[in-house]
Amino acid sequence: MKRFLSGNEAVAWGAWESGVRVAAAYPGTPSTEILETLAPMPDVYAEWSPNEKVALDVAIGAAYAGSRAMAVMKHVGLNVAADSFFYASMTGLEAGLVIVNADDPFMHSSQNEQDNRRYAKFARVPCLEPTDSQEAHDLVGVALDISEQFDTPVMLRLTTRISHSSSLVELQGTRPPPRQEKPSYRIDTTKYVMVPGNARRRHPVIEERIAKLAEFAETFPYNRMELRDRALGIVSNGVAYQYAREVFPEASLLKLGMTYPVPAKTLRDFASQVQRLIVIEELDPFLEEEIRLLGIPVEGKSIFPICGELDQQVVRECAIKAGLLPPSARIPVVQPDKGQLPPRPPILCPGCPHRGTLYVAKKLGLVVNGDIGCYTLAFQPPLGALHTCGCMGASIGVAHGVAKAGVAQHNVAVLGDSTFFHTGMPALLNVAYNRSNTVTIILDNRTTAMTGHQQHPGTGRTLQGQETVQVEFEALARAMGIQRIHTVDAYDLKAVETALKDCLDADEPAVVIARRECALMPEARQRWMPLQVNDERCNGCGLCFQVGCPAIVKSSEVDAKTGRPKARIDPLLCTGCEVCAQVCARRAILFRHQLAQDKEQQE
């Protein structure tokens, strides 16, 4: 059967059809939909783990136990899971293990654009790369077969455009029947206990393994030579192959479905048949370097950029500059002089519960060591309330370091609930253990919002929506040795301020839990109720604009005295969180209960 699927959906189908039994992941754009698609399918166990390292350990455990397994993460997730990635390469497994890794060229939703093919080579793990959804589907099964044949984990590397573009996929729609009996766990300590003595014996094994895989790559059917015009030969991989096809329909192409290890003989053969050899690949000159190491002259990043995403436009333009195509190959474009257009970066949504807490932090003049989540967006004006963001879980450690170094201002750590479970916990433990006066604000919106509302250990529900234990931040913090803990409603600005001031005055480790569910959750949506501005009271002072809510817009009406436009609330956008109403000094923005009263009086 044919289905129109995104790369991510195709991977989930591929995993199901090839008999994956255990799949674990932590959400992260652009990889998130893989587990969301797989979770409802029958006979497969899938989970959101608290972070990528745990997810990979879970998958490795399943593969040790003789079942096919998959771990899924975005590229920076593999940094978190790197330790496990390396030991899994050393030990090998009892059944297939595929690590689906989604890189993000152009950083659509990421803090860097690291090229994780480097990790594959670093850990001596083969790397497969699909060029469309069909291959994304097929290569999952292929990866598992390779994993079993060579006793190695296999990386399936996607990129944002493969994950989030859709094309037709031929599905089998079936899966090998589940095993009737549980396999017995095979004990082999020399293989699976990586003490130095055993590890020294394993290292040559994995070096030999990668040499054998390089041999295997010579006949690997997803490495494909397409000989056309011999003047130009292009080596390409992933979505870049599609751009190469489109821009150079006549050129000869060597498409590599396995980008590590590369097939040396095939590459030499291809190079010998073409006059000029180039590589078209996104991000690092990975293939280019591998080819050069074989002593084959090749061009790549001298023509095409390292930074950002490619597309046919970029490839064509670079090719023209390098003399590979005539200027007449250019596609006619009109680029009108538009002047400066107002930018439209992503922002905190109307009704976002993070807004009020961060508004208070700014009002108190705090240095905010932030983290990654929706709240990161509060760094922008007019809020400007977040001052560092490096990677997930960094906030608390950084804030502790700032506190130990000592600065004139007060500083706090700010992170979300999901991020706290991900990597915030050990850092909070450190604050308690090594006694800094760091105040940690956990923005508990009851979900992993940024990546599209996934469950986590604090929500009381699993990936499948089933009820489970719900971890309490208060109890956790107390168990870690923190005594000063406040829980407040994130919509209640006074309560947030009181709690924060109490902690700032105290000179001891403290935690403030600012709790309020994300305004986009279905239950929250049901309570949406747009507020209104009382035109007579509003004098256009502009204070409410400082909370940075897109629902508050300038009215066409100008206040006679101040000469400034009054505020207006867009009823299509406002959710009625009342943060702006609390900020307004003239009580011109009506609270929900006032609106309700007005309505009653009218009736």
């Binding site: 129109f4 754009t29 989030h164 859709s166 094309s167 046919q312 930018p343 970066p345 949504c349 436009p565």
Partner: protein
């Protein structure tokens, strides 16, 4: 619908642009479904994640005999469906010179505008800029039309209806089937009406 591809059906590239949360993804799904029904090879590409939080978003749909790249390059969009006026300006150079652009007559002022640091371009300026790329630009009062059906949210499907007028080789049924396939069942009537009202609005245009 069976394979209808003939030599006359050349490749068509669609660009959809708007503000995160406006329903561009649903619209591009429907558009992809129509292409598949017509027997085209289809690719669709869109942005998820961070950019969706009220930011500027695009999605792209390509119909052709054989589609390679899932993206559209500068000057390659045959049809540009802008869900918001400022976003029409932002991406207009993606349009093939002389291509067709449909603009939702709707403004969502970005924060820099509502906080007074930027000015939202007026209609005259928008028309002046669009017209340097094409004479085939059309305003669609999609919000007003959707509101007349009682739900402003279906303005995305109104826009698709308007677009359908410019693709005479695609039978109406292909559109409606694809709409029905993609929207929840209790909203099929509403969405079909939204589609038809948009389609009708464009009747008489080139």
């Amino acid at each position: 619908m069976s394979k209808q591809l003939t030599d006359e059906l050349t490749a068509i590239n669609f660009l959809l642009a708007g503000v995160g949360g406006q329903g561009t993804i649903l619209a591009s799904d429907i558009l992809a479904g129509v292409g598949l029904r017509m027997g085209y090879d289809v690719k669709k590409s869109e942005v998820h994640g961070m950019a969706q939080r009220g930011g500027s978003v695009t999605s792209q749909v390509r119909w052709a005999d054989r589609v390679y790249s899932p993206l559209i390059g500068l000057g390659e969009a045959d049809f540009f469906l802008a869900f918001e006026k400022l976003e029409a300006l932002r991406h207009i150079e993606m349009l093939r010179p002389g291509g067709t652009v449909l603009v939702n007559d709707y403004a969502i002022p970005p924060l820099s505008v509502s906080s007074g640091n930027d000015v939202y371009p007026d209609k005259e300026r928008i028309e002046r800029i669009l017209s340097t790329v094409t004479t085939r630009y059309y305003w669609v009062p999609a919000i007003a039309l959707a509101e007349s059906l009682g739900n402003a949210r279906v303005n995305n499907v109104v826009l698709l209806g308007a677009l359908s007028h410019f693709l005479p080789h695609v039978p109406l049924e292909a559109w409606l089937e694809s709409v029905r396939e993609r929207v929840p069942q209790r909203f099929t009537d509403l969405n079909e009406h939204a589609f038809l009202i948009g389609r009708e609005k464009m009747a008489g245009n080139g």
